[in-house]
């Protein structure tokens, strides 16, 4: 099954189960979604529940907030994260705060899906990542789906949760293959140890997780060490417990993210490690992230602007060698 199919299945299942679930966004209905995530659903549930909206992101999220107030469970799709900036007022001032400002009188069971990241040469206005901003907003729960199984389970969780949730997807993962384990429940707020290891903890999420996994064999071979790889899954809350357990074992941490380095999400993980795990660290933490530049169109420059498996391997090996790991 493909990642986008898993997302589709998750939405389908909740819609079947619960009549209050509605989907809204640009081209989500008749067109089936620009990344085909909602394909086929309009035939099953009608235009009343698959709502094609105008190109007005502020309203997409603002309407979803109002739908949730009115008793529905809206699932809003932002076509690409960059357009979501138009909805930041509704996301940050409204979606994240109504519950608190009303002392719990307002409940917002809603999801905003955020496809993001560097895809293939979509250039500066179509390639960014905003988990850095979104995960820093109190009141929001931010999930990031790195694989098919998580996509399926976590999106269902998000839709049925009574909290407002940002659900981040990476545009290059839509055609990623994987299996769903229908038997085993997961806790979407928990990080996942993707691979166990002894000598360093590599933390990542979304597309970069795949790049890390691709780099790991080379790293292990060259350094003669073993890597523990963790998929954060939830970016807010952050599952520090899992990180702590791993770090106590390995004594070294690397965080790999695609976003621009300055102020990127990974700085929170590294600063936490420095503050809270200082005496467990045998080496300086390492942050691998994108360059501090808008994303260029040219493919060579585009790839130069973000981590790749090769660069990840190279930089981790250099760091390992330098710090005697």
């Amino acid at each position: 099954m493909l990642y986008r199919e898993a997302l589709n299945k998750a939405i389908d299942k909740t819609m079947e189960m619960d009549e209050t679930v509605v989907v809204l966004g640009e081209d989500v209905g008749l067109y089936g979604g620009s990344y085909r995530v909602t394909e086929g659903l309009v035939a099953k549930y009608g235009e009343r529940r698959l709502i094609d909206t105008p190109i007005a992101e502020l309203s997409i999220v603002g309407n979803a907030v109002g739908m949730a107030i009115g008793g529905l469970r809206p699932v809003a799709e932002i076509m690409t994260a960059n357009f979501g900036l138009l909805a930041f007022d509704q996301i940050i001032n409204h979606m994240a705060k109504y519950r608190y400002m009303s002392a719990g009188k307002i409940t917002l069971p809603m999801v905003v899906r955020f496809p993001q990241g560097v895809s293939r040469q979509l250039a500066a206005q179509h390639s960014e990542s905003y988990e850095q901003m979104l995960s820093a907003v109190p009141g929001l729960t931010v999930l990031a789906a790195s694989d098919v199984n998580y996509a399926y389970h976590a999106l269902q969780f998000a839709i049925m949760s009574d909290d407002p949730i940002i659900f981040i997807e990476h545009e290059l993962l839509y055609n990623k293959k994987g299996d769903i384990d229908f038997e085993t429940a997961i806790d979407p707020l928990k990080a996942r140890v993707v691979k166990e290891g002894q000598d360093m903890t590599i933390v990542s999420y979304l597309k970069m997780l795949d790049d890390v996994m691709e780099a790991v064999p080379e790293i292990e071979k060259q350094l003669g060490k073993s890597c523990e790889v963790i998929d954060l899954c939830s970016l807010n809350p952050i599952d520090y417990e899992t990180l702590e357990t791993s770090l106590k074992k390995t004594g070294a941490i690397v965080v790999v993210e695609e976003d621009h380095k300055t102020g990127g999400f990974g700085s929170q993980i590294v600063s936490w490690a420095a503050e809270e795990m200082f005496y467990s660290l045998d080496a300086p933490p390492l942050r691998l992230a994108g360059e501090d530049v808008p994303i260029p169109y040219n493919r060579t420059l585009e790839l130069a602007s973000i981590p790749t498996p090769e660069k990840i391997a190279e930089k981790i090996m250099a760091w390992g060698n330098k710090n005697g790991l």
Binding site: N63, I69, G70, H94, P109
Partner: protein
């Protein structure tokens, strides 16, 4: 309008003004802080609109004390909120600009100009989806009609034929800026004309507002989509208590105050409803007592516990202190 309702509206108007004057006093005295936007001058509009739109959901702005009370919130709970106390309608965490009460279908209390409008659109969608007919009313100022949130909303509500009443409180100013300096015309209903039925009403005439909102509500209930109703009003005070109100001339203020909706309602009660001057005094006294009680309640209410800082952020997750 029957006598009972006319009296009730008058009472709520007087109550509203009395409440606002007390709030101002206690702001000066330091019991209330933050931004305090008084509705003085606009009570007729605020009360009549709430009474007229008796069922259905209401979304509004930061200038909402009088509306909240007319809608059914206990003045005690509202005053306690202004005082920042745990007994406040938002447990002291919202303050003047954030009064919420779903039990009265009243959803704030939004301090982002125009921000509540798309929320109201979504709620109207939910109501239509659920087959509920009362519809939704969203109140906003003239200043809000220049922002994208408003424009997208009239377009969306019209396309989807939603049961939504856009109620514009046009007091001619956004803080210190006259509407005609930042919009190409004085009456903002013109903006909605391509999309829906529009109406105008004298916002200083409570009865007229009442009738117009009733009519508008029945229009939106017939399934033909939204209505835009514009009420021309006047606020007597500055934008908030912090605003010295120097941008309006004495003459302008005089003309504006000459249309006082409470005075007009009073005359009407005396002349057309056969209410005696004594009965009027009794109503005024009752309002004063109510506000006095609200103030006493708020003053003696306890502060929220420190632990409340971390409460009600999530419905399901827990939130803990970080530092």
């Amino acid at each position: 309008m029957n006598k009972l309702l006319a009296e009730e509206i008058y009472y709520d108007m007087v109550l509203g003004r009395t409440f606002e004057l007390a709030a101002k006093e206690h702001y000066m005295g330091g019991d209330i802080a933050g931004f305090l936007h008084l509705d003085i001058g606009q009570e007729g509009f605020s009360v009549a609109a709430m009474k007229a739109f008796d069922k259905g959901d209401v979304f509004t702005t930061y200038r909402e004390h009088v509306m909240a009370i007319a809608r059914g919130m206990d003045p005690k709970d509202v005053m306690a909120e202004l005082f920042g106390k745990a007994a406040g309608i938002s447990r002291g965490r919202g303050g003047s600009m954030h009064l919420f009460d779903p039990s009265h279908f009243f959803y704030g209390g939004d301090a982002i100009v125009g921000g509540q409008i798309p929320n109201a659109v979504g709620c109207a969608y939910a109501r239509k989806y659920q087959g509920r007919e009362d519809g939704v009313m969203v109140v906003f100022g003239d200043g809000a009609t220049n922002g994208g949130a408003f424009f997208e909303s009239i377009n969306n509500a019209s396309t989807q034929k939603l049961p939504l009443l856009f109620l514009c409180e046009n007091n001619g100013y956004a803080i210190g800026t006259k509407i005609t300096r930042v919009a190409p015309f004085e009456k903002q209903a013109k903006k909605a004309e391509p999309y829906m039925i529009t109406r105008e009403v004298d916002g200083m005439d409570a009865l007229a507002v009442y009738e117009s909102v009733r009519e508008a509500q029945s229009l939106i209930q017939d399934g033909h989509g939204p209505v835009f109703l514009e009420a021309m009003t006047c606020r007597y005070e500055g934008h908030s208590v912090a605003d010295a109100n120097t941008y309006r001339s004495k003459e302008e203020m005089q003309i504006c105050k000459g249309k006082d909706s409470i005075d007009r309602m009073e005359q009407l009660l005396l002349s057309q409803y056969g209410i005696t001057p004594d009965a009027i005094k009794t109503i005024q006294k009752r309002a004063q007592n109510c506000v006095d009680e609200a103030v006493a309640f708020a003053a003696s209410a306890v502060e929220p516990e420190l632990a409340e800082l971390y409460e009600d952020i999530f419905a399901e997750r827990k939130n803990h202190a970080v530092s």
